[in-house]
């Protein structure tokens, strides 16, 4: 009884808003991650350009910067009088920093390596022979991509999506920096949780962390249930 009441009292309207923003952010980020990550990963998996290792390293780079520092540089880039900010406004956007769009951009950049890596690995392990077979049946590149590559890379896509989603839910440094913590717009759950810990509201923090964990567990578990590529290849009977 007590805990329910406590929980109730802890989930303020602001928290609810933060939950909504977080889910929206993670969902949109994941979708964009896939849309952006797929072509990059495909290119990386197939290019014979000598600079490929360099490009791969660049994709992985956002990881080596502390999130707040990355956020700081993004903030500089998003400033209204910076080239990026100018372009954004030219394209009809409002101010970029402290907007939901900024969060999305920041999250995508920060999580890109997690999306590209599993996708690229999947693509590289895809038997090219099947694409040749598809080509002989008249499938052009686009057709091959949707009819062969995507379904056979489900493993990588699920990996990319789940890592990207989870990472965005937990992300905090970058978002904190470029989001401005505006309730209902850029205040996300991770920041709310961080605030609890900083301000010593431990029991509230425990509840929130617990809820987050249980929710994520369910969601990720659900995603991973679709991850059954293995069953398509019964042991020893595959002929690629």
């Amino acid at each position: 009884m007590r805990s329910l009441i406590e929980m109730n009292s802890m989930l303020s309207a602001a928290d609810l808003a933060a939950i909504v923003v977080t889910l929206k952010l993670a969902t949109i980020t994941t979708i964009i991650l896939l849309l952006v990550g797929l072509p990059i990963a495909w290119w990386l998996a197939n290019t014979r350009v000598r600079a490929k290792p360099l490009v791969e390293a660049i994709v992985a780079l956002p990881l080596v910067l502390p999130p707040t520092v990355l956020g700081f540089y993004l903030l500089l880039a998003f400033a209204p009088d910076s080239p990026v900010g100018q372009l954004w406004q030219y394209l009809g956007g409002e101010q970029l920093a402290f907007s939901f769009s900024a969060l999305v951009i920041g999250s995508v950049i920060y999580s890109l390596p997690f999306a590209v890596q599993p996708l690229q690995a999947s693509f590289e392990q895809l038997p090219k022979s099947l694409l040749e077979a598809a080509a002989t049946m008249g499938a052009n590149g686009r057709d091959q991509f949707f009819s062969i590559i995507l379904p056979l890379s489900r493993r990588g896509i699920i990996g990319a999506a789940s890592l990207g989603f989870a990472h965005t839910v937990g992300e905090f440094g970058v978002i904190l920096m470029i989001g401005g913590n505006i309730p209902g717009e850029t205040q996300v759950l991770s920041i709310a949780l961080y605030d609890r810990v900083e301000t010593l509201q431990y029991s509230s923090a425990h509840w929130m962390a617990g809820g987050l964990i249980v929710f994520s567990l369910l969601l990720l578990g659900f995603i991973y249930r679709f991850n059954k590529t293995a069953s398509l290849y019964p042991a020893g009977r595959v002929r690629s």
Binding site: L76, A97, G180, N181, I182, I191
Partner: protein
């Protein structure tokens, strides 16, 4: 009897502390190690047995809690500096006063950056000041809340926010224009120091605590933009 002490400090005071430590190390045989983080983080770490000798917090509440909980030496708590609030703007040269603040909030379109009132003492002070100026309700849609006072400054400095309530310490030595808010508009930001259980026999920590109250140290602190009682 040279000793080494680890001083945990609120991030906003770290530059000042570095200066103080340099002077202190010249004057005494002691060595100081400085660890900066948010006061909340330091508090949590101290509760879990962090090897810190002395805490220079950004507020008075958390040192008091530590004292209460027995992680710090009772009676060693004192205010080593009082934070002051300043209004800055972007671009750097613009006029800054209550009227321009009001004008920006009513007719302008820019953001007003403050530290998070829930977690940062400067944020709380900023809120109090805005309330005193009767601008708080007006500011609601325009506020961006930084995690700490350093970020609030960066928001303005990078041009993403047009106004910001920051620590006077951050701007006192910069050519950028600012308006120092009158101290009566917000509760004093009392930054308190306390000797921690871990350092209760550390001579360097004890000496440094005394040093902080010495006139040369107070001069340095003042020079960095804090108010200090005589």
């Amino acid at each position: 009897n040279a000793d080494t002490a680890t001083i945990a400090t609120a991030a906003n005071f770290k530059p000042t502390l570095q200066r103080l430590a340099a002077v202190f190390e010249q004057q005494t045989p002691h060595q100081l190690t400085l660890v900066g983080a948010s006061t909340g983080t330091l508090f949590n770490q101290i509760r879990q047995g962090a090897p810190f000798d002395l805490l220079l917090a950004a507020d008075s509440e958390r040192p008091a809690r530590l004292e209460q909980l027995g992680f710090a030496i009772a009676g060693s708590r004192f205010t080593y500096a009082e934070g002051r609030l300043a209004l800055i703007g972007y671009p750097a040269g613009r006029d800054l006063n209550p009227a321009s603040l009001r004008a920006e909030l009513t007719t302008g379109r820019g953001k007003l950056a403050i530290a998070n009132p829930n977690t940062a003492p400067y944020g709380l002070a900023a809120r109090q000041a805005l309330e005193a100026l009767a601008l708080w309700p007006l500011a609601q849609g325009r506020l961006v809340r930084a995690n700490n006072i350093a970020q609030a400054f960066q928001y303005v400095d990078s041009g993403n926010a047009s106004l910001g309530l920051v620590a006077y310490a951050q701007v006192i030595h910069s050519p950028r224009a600012h308006w120092l808010l009158p101290a009566r508009q917000y509760q004093p930001i009392r930054q308190q120091a306390i000797l921690l259980q871990f350092g209760h026999r550390n001579q360097a920590a004890i000496d440094f605590m005394h040093f902080l109250t010495s006139p040369p140290a107070k001069d340095i602190i003042r020079h960095h933009g804090y108010a200090v009682a005589d």
